[in-house]
């Protein structure tokens, strides 16, 4: 039985998720990024719980709890610890390769593109959940765009985590999630990835005393 509220609930949650990603796009400071990411994961966990209630598969509840626990709490904690420890003076991304204004417009374009791809694919999944497919594409492409257009390594990590969120949403909405072992494996990978990149960030800030990737260009063929 589908309550009308749930349907627009789905749409509303999709819109909130997109707003959270845009929030990540526009924020400048390191801590703003991490906060934006935290909101994003919280909304994501909510969506997963929602899908679980619609398709009433019990594993999805566990998965949403897991995502909330790890992605919304542990990972932001690590990232906050990292941003505090970084001894680079200004914790701002001032001159990204593409100006903030332009990057927002491009993000919008990417969202429209993901909707076009979604239409091209005409996937016959459960109609209700299909709302989240274009959003997951959008998350994926915006994450990719963040990595390409930003100068600060931490921001690139954020882009990476957004791509992972997009993937996670895509998996849940399309095939209602993998079996549990694979979910746990994915989570472990993400956490390990974040830990290793934070170690790298520490080393980078200690040797280059700034985490700008401009000074990561010595290995090249010229």
């Amino acid at each position: 039985m589908i309550f009308p509220t749930e349907i627009n609930l789905l749409d509303i949650s999709a819109v909130i998720l997109l707003i959270a990603t845009f929030g990540l796009m526009v924020s400048r400071g390191f801590s703003n990024w991490v906060n934006a990411y935290r909101y994003q994961t919280i909304v994501l966990a909510g969506i997963v719980a929602l899908i679980a209630s619609i398709t009433n598969i019990w594993e999805l509840y566990i998965v949403s709890a897991l995502t909330f626990g790890i992605k919304a709490v542990i990972i932001p904690k690590i990232l906050f610890y990292v941003t505090k420890k970084l001894d680079s003076p200004i914790k701002l991304e001032i001159y990204p390769y593409i100006s903030m204004k332009l990057s927002v417009i491009i993000a919008a374009l990417l969202v429209t593109m993901s909707y076009f791809i979604f239409l091209y694919l005409d996937i016959k999944s459960n109609e209700i959940i299909q709302v989240f497919l274009p959003v997951s594409f959008a998350l994926f492409f915006i994450g990719l765009f963040v990595i390409v257009s930003r100068r600060k390594a931490l921001n690139q990590m954020m882009g990476l985590l957004t791509i992972e969120n997009g993937l996670f949403l895509f998996a849940v909405s399309l095939t209602h999630g993998f079996s549990l072992i694979i979910e746990i494996g994915l989570m472990a990978d993400i956490v390990l990835g974040v830990m290793i990149s934070s170690i790298l960030l520490f080393r980078m800030s200690r040797t280059f005393d700034s985490i700008d990737i401009k000074n990561l260009e010595s290995l090249r063929d010229d």
């Binding site: 257009s149 990737i213 990561l216 260009e217 090249r220 063929d221």
Partner: protein
């Protein structure tokens, strides 16, 4: 039948024995004998093997193992003829290097030379003997690899390494073309072995044409045809002389073997198959390489570079013969096509012999005078009389003067060119006469080059101390050269040996000559077009010599001869500086061919002090000619490197760019799929 198998195994065994001994007898004093005696025996066995194959039937061994490619050896007449060339020349060169490689005793890895020589010879024999693509290419590359290591054997001076590299890259380019053409044929015939290429049925014509062009370019690079000859004048001089003798005399012939095997064995040429343009292409390239090769040999100053350029010229002549035989065959003039084929094969044999002889003599000059520049030589015939005699025989043979073998093969090629008028189409007749014009000019220029080479390095006064205190080379080197010199004389005086050898080897429908019958060419209507009886000519020469000697003795009576210095118009002793040098001897000719050489004549005078321009310390006249091909190659090379440099720049070091590349790759593939570009 039984002994044929063992002969092949014995040859392979001896050469590998030589190689292994070479490897392990590093420091020992008699390493030379350990490595070269097995190669002498091996090459002698190779000569016997080829004679056995001529007389009895072909050898076919297949070691079929469960592998994809089983190791097949198939020695028919064609392969046996080339094995004969390899055997004969390596027999002489191995004896020669018994004492020549003592020159390298001071180097630490002196026994490597012996090992590499053995590997080089056995890989050439196996190239000629192998019967499927895979092993043909393996031994072909092994041959180029060992000869590469030999070229850079003295790798302490820099330009040896550079010429070694050009050699390696050019031969590899050639092998790539050969592999492409074989794989083209394989794609149609379905099996790797050469037998499947032989039955003409299954392979359509367009494949044969494309495969021919690729094979011709591939083998041409190895043979040193003109546009692809750049590596030859650099590689041969930098190798030790016994190796450049082997390379120039034998390795170029392996490329000719490839072309012959491809032209006459894989395709049957007659007027139905339109291979006419193949023949014309070969003739044109042959005459161009002959002319260009000899023009550069004329003005060269390094003795081994002259010989290398003259190899290009002789390969050109061989190609003219092959081309003509294809042209005649495609007009069904079988007797003329056989004549042209016999001419080019006889010239291959002759060139192998006298080029090996000349390189060995150049090696002995280098051995005793330690210089290769003929401007510092002179008067060697008084110091090294035997080497001088051998070099004279080699020069007379390579110029193509009557008593020796060069004249016979030149005579045959000229006869086949002369009988071009029997071809029905007039345009062909006229164009082929232009080829004969180029050949005639080449013969003249060859005479000039080798007269200059012999005259400047051997006659008159020695120009430097190095040439002055040269001494005759040890015994083994002389025997090595004597073998080839006698082969020149024997083949010159009794040409029927060579002709019968070729006719039986390639089992052409041509009645083999009896010793006394003249070498005659008969036109269709039975009239004798031309005939030659070399033994009779020799008898006439001797009888005339005896009669005039007697006549002068009777009339002139006892006359004494007095030694006195040369006429110097009374100005006082002629020093060696007043003689003609190598450059001035051909300066008139280089002025006649100025359009080709673009000679530059500059005078550099250095002064004691800058202020007064009058007190000159020295005046130096330098006369240089330009080599168009080397400049052309530099141009092409720099263009390619420019493009490669542009592609290389994609590794920019910026991580954003790298992620962008992935995004672009993904989107372009999606776009291609979407629009149906990739189905």
């Amino acid at each position: 039948m039984l002994e044929n198998f063992h002969l092949v195994y014995a040859i392979v065994g001896f050469f590998s024995l030589g190689a292994i001994l070479g490897l392990f007898s590093r420091g020992k004093s008699q390493h030379v004998y350990l490595t070269y005696i097995p190669s002498i025996i091996g090459s002698f066995l190779a000569v016997i093997l080829s004679i056995v194959v001529f007389t009895s039937e072909d050898i076919h061994i297949t070691l079929s193992s469960q592998q994809i490619f089983n190791f097949e050896i198939f020695i028919d007449g064609v392969a046996a003829f080339f094995i004969l060339i390899i055997g004969l020349i390596s027999f002489a060169v191995s004896i020669y290097s018994l004492s020549y490689s003592k020159k390298f005793d001071d180097k630490k890895n002196n026994s490597n030379l012996g090992m590499l020589v053995n590997l080089f010879i056995i890989s050439m024999i196996l190239v000629v003997a192998s019967n499927n693509i895979f092993f043909f290419l393996i031994f072909w590359e092994l041959m180029s690899l060992t000869s590469f290591f030999l070229v850079i054997y003295e790798h302490d001076n820099e330009n040896n390494l550079k010429s070694g590299l050009t050699y390696l890259v050019m031969t590899h380019l050639g092998t790539a073309f050969i592999m492409a053409s074989f794989l083209f044929m394989y794609a149609q015939s379905g099996s790797f072995s050469f037998d499947s290429f032989r039955d003409a049925g299954i392979i359509p014509d367009y494949v044969r044409d494309v495969a021919f062009i690729l094979a011709f370019i591939g083998f041409g690079t190895k043979a040193g045809m003109v546009p692809l000859h750049i590596w030859l004048p650099q590689a041969h001089p930098s190798a030790p002389s016994n190796i450049s003798a082997l390379m120039s005399a034998v390795m170029l012939k392996i490329a000719i073997y490839g072309i012959v095997r491809y032209l006459f064995d894989f395709n049957s040429i007659d007027d139905s198959s339109n291979y006419l343009w193949w023949g014309l292409g070969i003739v044109v390239i042959g005459s161009v390489s002959a002319l260009v090769g000899i023009l550069y040999a004329l003005v060269e100053r390094d003795i081994k570079r002259i010989l290398a350029f003259s190899s290009i010229e002789n390969i050109g002549i061989i190609l003219i013969g092959l081309g003509l035989s294809v042209v005649f065959a495609s007009f069904n003039l079988t007797s003329l096509s056989i004549l042209a084929f016999v001419a080019s094969m006889f010239h291959t044999l002759n060139h192998a012999i006298f080029k090996g002889l000349l390189f060995m003599t150049a090696g002995s000059i280098h051995y005793s005078t330690h210089t290769k520049n003929i401007e510092d030589l002179g008067g060697l015939i008084k110091k090294m009389p035997w080497t001088g005699l051998m070099f004279l025989i080699g020069t007379i043979a390579i110029i193509g003067l009557p008593p020796l073998n060069g004249f016979i093969s030149e005579w045959l090629i000229l006869q086949s060119l002369l009988s071009v008028f029997q071809i029905p189409s007039t345009i062909l007749q006229v164009s082929l006469t232009f080829a004969s014009l180029a050949l005639a000019l080449t013969i003249g220029l060859a005479a000039a080059t080798f007269v200059r080479l012999f005259g400047i390095s051997f006659l008159s006064k020695s120009r430097t101390l190095k040439a002055a205190n040269a001494i005759e080379v040890p015994r083994f080197m002389l025997t090595g050269k004597a073998i080839l010199a006698s082969a020149c004389i024997v083949l010159g005086i009794l040409p029927f040996i060579g002709i019968n050898l070729i006719v039986t080897a390639f089992n052409l429908s041509y009645t083999p000559l009896s010793p006394f019958e003249p070498l005659s060419i008969i036109t269709e209507d039975g009239k004798s077009f031309a005939s030659l009886m070399m033994p009779a000519v020799l008898i006439i020469l001797l009888s005339v010599f005896v009669s005039i000697f007697v006549f002068v003795k009777i009339i002139g009576g006892k006359t004494s001869t007095k030694k006195y210095n040369t006429w110097d118009c009374g100005f006082g002793g002629l020093s060696e500086r007043t003689q003609y040098t190598a450059t001035s001897l051909v300066e008139p000719l280089s002025r006649v061919f100025a359009v080709f050489y673009k000679p530059k004549n500059e005078i550099i005078n250095s002064f004691y002090s800058d202020q007064n321009q009058y007190l000159k310390k020295s005046i130096e006249v330098s006369y240089t000619t330009r080599n168009i091909f080397e400049e052309f190659y530099d141009l092409v090379l720099s263009f390619n490197l420019y493009i490669l440099n542009k592609i290389r720049k994609i590794q920019t070091g910026k991580i954003n760019a790298y992620i962008l590349y992935i995004m672009i790759a993904l989107l372009s593939l999606l776009f291609a799929m979407g629009t149906g570009l990739i189905e």
